[in-house]
Symmetry: C2
Subunit: 365 residues, 2 copies
């Protein structure tokens, strides 16, 4: 099996590398003192150090369910299965559906493509348009009991967000075909202006929604979850259990306590959104000025700016920029086109953004 | 896929159930204040909240390697891959060797049997004797490039510990056949008197050693590892990465800091050994007095007492004892015999041990 290009790049960069490659949140957004405070609190209870149940901490499941319900998507604790990050969530689902075929977006998330391969799931890629997957093309291939994997909010790698209209159309199609949608939503709360309801909320019996706290709290917690119909979760629990017994109770309890501090949690989230919107604005300003040949659609949230420089080969460009200490991910890594590029806009300083883009521009001349 | 009997039992017990079922360490042995102290320390650094590399925290890998080297098994950081518990360690290895066949002990660890099934690995069980696997039987089935899965230290479920002589014989056999041994060693440090070197230390190029901090520190950390030749690990890293990107940096750093506090770490471990030896002595004293028909070999470490009550069906006995609030695991769950029983001796209070065994005895009359 092949490793992820991005993680290999990340491991081989130094402190001096300017990296637009990884989907790294900015450490400035982590609520460090809050995490410290609740970690202290939960470690007072010896029981938190013992084995716990494979479904996940009940407090945490309750808090996640409450949050969904509050946001208009009625959810109970028994609709939630806690996982070690949403990467594991997808692996659990893939193992259950091993050897089937799945409709995906083109391009799509590298970590998902790896899991489909690992679990011998054949992919059926459909072009992603500016407002979501191409519905006409989807209608042609969707059949009874078909699987779909979509990332409707600030998609990785493209940053595309599905329109409300398209979401409803997809939900209808899924229901009509008794299909199952795996909706990956790690960035759904990272909108700059307002939220759009998940596709799952329009087709709850036909959806498996994957969530994560990596982008809204801190990745090192490794806490994610699957939100699905109880019946689906009951088919998945044996996999979770076999894979790692359960997710760390310490990090689960940290997240549960942070969710209980709703005001503080929401304040941190709002701060993160504003911080990322500023980063995005700056990144795109620099792109427009220094790299005008880069053609892209400005995202409305998430972590990525995706676009193309017509006619170039972005993998070859990367080989050159790496020599100068600047990295990004070529579109081809996501099964995108050879002239496409994904930039992460959240993780670098203003100074590095300017410097890095200038280096890239200089190597195009 | 079927769930683990033990975890289902655990989820359905109440506070009042007397459980000899799960392999639960005793919460009294957890170094809670030490964990609190180091958690506080490591959370001062914002970087600990960011994504980290798939191999695991370098500090932690160094510390684990140092400990092995100190104990006579020369090891470098690049022989260590950190996993989310040793359950995940075994899953990673199983995915790499999917669809092959493997020699295992009879009976064997339930969580391993589940992973072999999940990864379509055919098992070839060989009788476990009082001092380790039956070597004559092993010689008959071992062939070139064969896989083996053994738990030489205080085996789960039997508590059997392999003699030094047998370990060396197995190491020789493995090398002669270019076989690969997966040596699962979660209990190796839980000896009452002294350590016996791992089989891996006699055949390092042919071994994949699985380690865990669940039994010597705290299970909820979910930190385990694979110790193997660098070349083997390089084949495994892509799986780890695809499965959950990396293990929580927070819990990894907690373990690393605890290992750095070597004196305190060793003191806690020694305290745990003495605590468990006392528990074991008490448990066996109660068994001998209240349940003399239970035939077993007293373990020299670990967490389990395994034996049989000739002629009974232990699953049927469990159905009765459950009604009275007492649980254990029938040998048949580990592919053992119908009249065998596994008792966990580490987790219950003296009072509950006495009460629980008496309840079992009363239901045999």
């Amino acid at each position: 099996m092949k490793r992820s290009f991005i993680r290999e790049i990340l491991e081989n960069t130094t402190d001096k590398t300017i990296s637009f490659a990884g989907g790294l949140p900015n450490i400035d957004t982590f609520p460090q003192s809050l995490i410290e405070e609740v970690a202290n609190k939960i470690l007072q209870n010896r029981e938190v150090l013992q084995y716990s149940n494979s479904w996940g901490d009940n407090d945490l499941r309750e808090e996640i369910a409450k949050r969904y319900t509050k946001n208009g998507f009625k959810t109970k604790a028994n609709n939630i299965l806690i996982t070690s990050g949403s990467q594991q969530a997808l692996d659990i689902v893939c193992r259950y559906y091993a050897n089937l075929s799945i409709i995906i977006e083109k391009p799509s998330y590298l970590g998902a493509l790896n899991l489909f391969k690992l679990n011998k799931i054949t992919t059926n890629p459909i072009k992603l348009l500016n407002n979501g997957i191409d519905i006409k093309a989807l209608k042609k291939v969707i059949t009874k009991d078909k699987l779909l994997y979509l990332i409707p909010d600030f998609q990785n790698p493209t940053g595309v967000r599905y329109s409300l209209k398209k979401r409803k159309k997809i939900a209808k199609l899924i229901k009509e075909n008794s299909a199952i949608l795996i909706e990956d939503s790690p960035y759904s709360e990272l909108y700059f202006n307002k939220a759009i309801p998940s596709i799952s909320s329009f087709a709850p019996k036909n959806s498996i929604l994957l969530g994560s706290f990596s982008k809204v709290l801190a990745p090192s917690l490794r806490v994610g979850y699957i939100r699905a119909d109880k019946k689906i979760l009951e088919s998945l629990i044996a996999y979770k259990e076999a894979m790692d017994l359960h997710t760390s109770t310490i990090t689960q309890k940290i997240v549960a306590e942070l969710l209980k501090e709703e005001l503080k949690y929401n304040k941190n989230l709002q701060k993160t959104r504003e911080y990322y919107q500023k980063k995005c604005n700056y990144f795109s300003k620099v792109l427009d000025k220094e790299l005008p040949q880069f053609n892209y659609q400005k995202p409305k949230g998430g972590m990525f700016i995706y676009g193309k420089i017509s006619g170039i080969n972005s993998t070859k460009l990367l080989e050159k920029t790496m020599q100068k200490g600047v990295v990004f991910v070529p579109g081809s890594e996501f099964a995108g086109e050879a002239d496409e590029i994904r930039f992460n806009f959240t993780n670098s300083t203003k100074k590095d953004i300017k410097k890095g883009i200038k280096v890239i521009a200089s190597l195009l001349k």
